[in-house]
Symmetry: C2
Subunit: 244 residues, 2 copies
């Protein structure tokens, strides 16, 4: 028995997220179907996180157990030959039997991309959140710094997640501007359900002076979801990397 | 009678390029249909260049004459309401009756994006040219510098273009690397048919040490298309800006 770890890139546009569910196509299902047809086994893949509908990944990590004789580093090319064009295995390797992509994760980096201009996007519309109005970037940067550190992020999660605690540590939070694109990179030990998208919705309100940039700490302390901003669409979100 | 100039962004994936042709959908046709339904006129749009099938644009420029009472700067929003999601007007403005987007152009900037890694792209596959093998970037940079200046670029054009002369001036040629993406920006007073894509195909050969980086000047002087590299696919190409 071998434990094989995969790093995956996928375009989430046509999928209902990572996790298998009834009546909807998911990344996990497509991947398991490919693995089953290759190995003849009934493989269950362990994913590092549930990504939502329309969310993308450049460095998703998962693992699975197999009795297959295929060398673990060869799995990459064999699986890729069975996958649709919007999912690709970047790397496959054998890991210890104890490795679990979800529970062993030490952290993740997500990016969130905003196209900030009057006109809707024609190029890459599935990879951005389009926001028309001008944003006060100075206020946004000031607000971003207050997310850093260890906090109870109850105010920044949607109901329905399975996490036992709402305490998380944000290790870094950066923003890059390129023409009309604003790209945020946030790294933490883990993220609650919809947490990145609600943080982004809160930053938009800060950028419109609807929430004071200094009040982020108060919103965190309130643990009140109603104090934070809206949950932005999944299109702008991309899981960049999972750390072990 | 007014002359209206448009700046357009489009995703060329589903189109057979800019220029109207039989039995294929083009950007020009979709735009003219929108204009005709708005104005009730039979408008012919003058485009700044023919882009090929699958090629994209962030700053395509065109112009058209109209008797419409719609204020020229309002055309943007009115046309956008009639366009599909992969074409968008960024700007509309009135220009002098002498303005011709093709003949008044003083230069253009194109970008060409290569995804340089073993695995095919899953995200944004319509916006890159995928190249598997490693590239000698030092040799590529050395070769790029030799394209600068005024030359007869006959060796770097496909047959079928309508240009009267093959002499063009390359004003700048830069490259940016971001993770596995290599993005080239080339600015010139004009480009021959397939010229950017053939220059890129030549640079790939330089990067694989199949063409010596110092021999670009000789290839230019030869005026022989067979000396240059292949014409790379249109997916990686994007018309960034047209100068007047």
């Amino acid at each position: 028995m071998k434990n094989v770890k995969l790093i995956i890139e996928y375009d989430g546009t046509l999928y209902s997220g990572w996790q298998i569910q009834d009546n909807a196509i998911t990344i996990q299902e497509v991947l398991e179907n490919a693995l089953n047809s290759i190995t003849g086994e009934q493989i269950k893949v362990v994913g590092s996180s549930r990504t939502d509908s329309g969310v993308h990944a450049r460095g998703y990590v998962c693992n699975f157990f197999t009795e297959s004789k295929i060398p673990p580093d060869r799995f990459r090319d064999v699986i890729n030959s069975k996958l649709p064009k919007d999912i690709v295995i970047i790397e496959s390797e054998e890991v210890s039997l104890e490795f679990n992509s979800r529970f062993c994760s030490k952290g993740k980096t997500y990016s969130y991309t905003i196209l900030n201009r009057m006109q809707r996007p024609a190029i890459g519309s599935n990879y951005v959140y389009h926001y028309r109005n001008s944003l006060n970037m100075e206020a946004i940067r000031e607000a971003m710094s207050q997310f850093l550190g260890t906090h109870d992020f109850s105010a920044f999660k949607s109901t329905g997640g399975s996490a036992k605690t709402s305490i998380r540590t944000i290790k870094s939070f950066e923003v890059v501007k390129k023409d009309d694109y604003i790209i945020f990179y946030i790294t933490g030990d883990g993220f609650l359900y919809n947490m990145v998208r609600i943080i982004m919705g809160t930053l938009i309100k800060v950028g419109r002076d609807k929430i004071d940039s200094c009040s982020i700490k108060d919103i965190i302390l309130s643990k009140d979801r109603n104090m934070a901003g809206p949950c932005l669409p999944g299109t702008g979100l991309c899981l960049e990397k999972v750390y072990y």
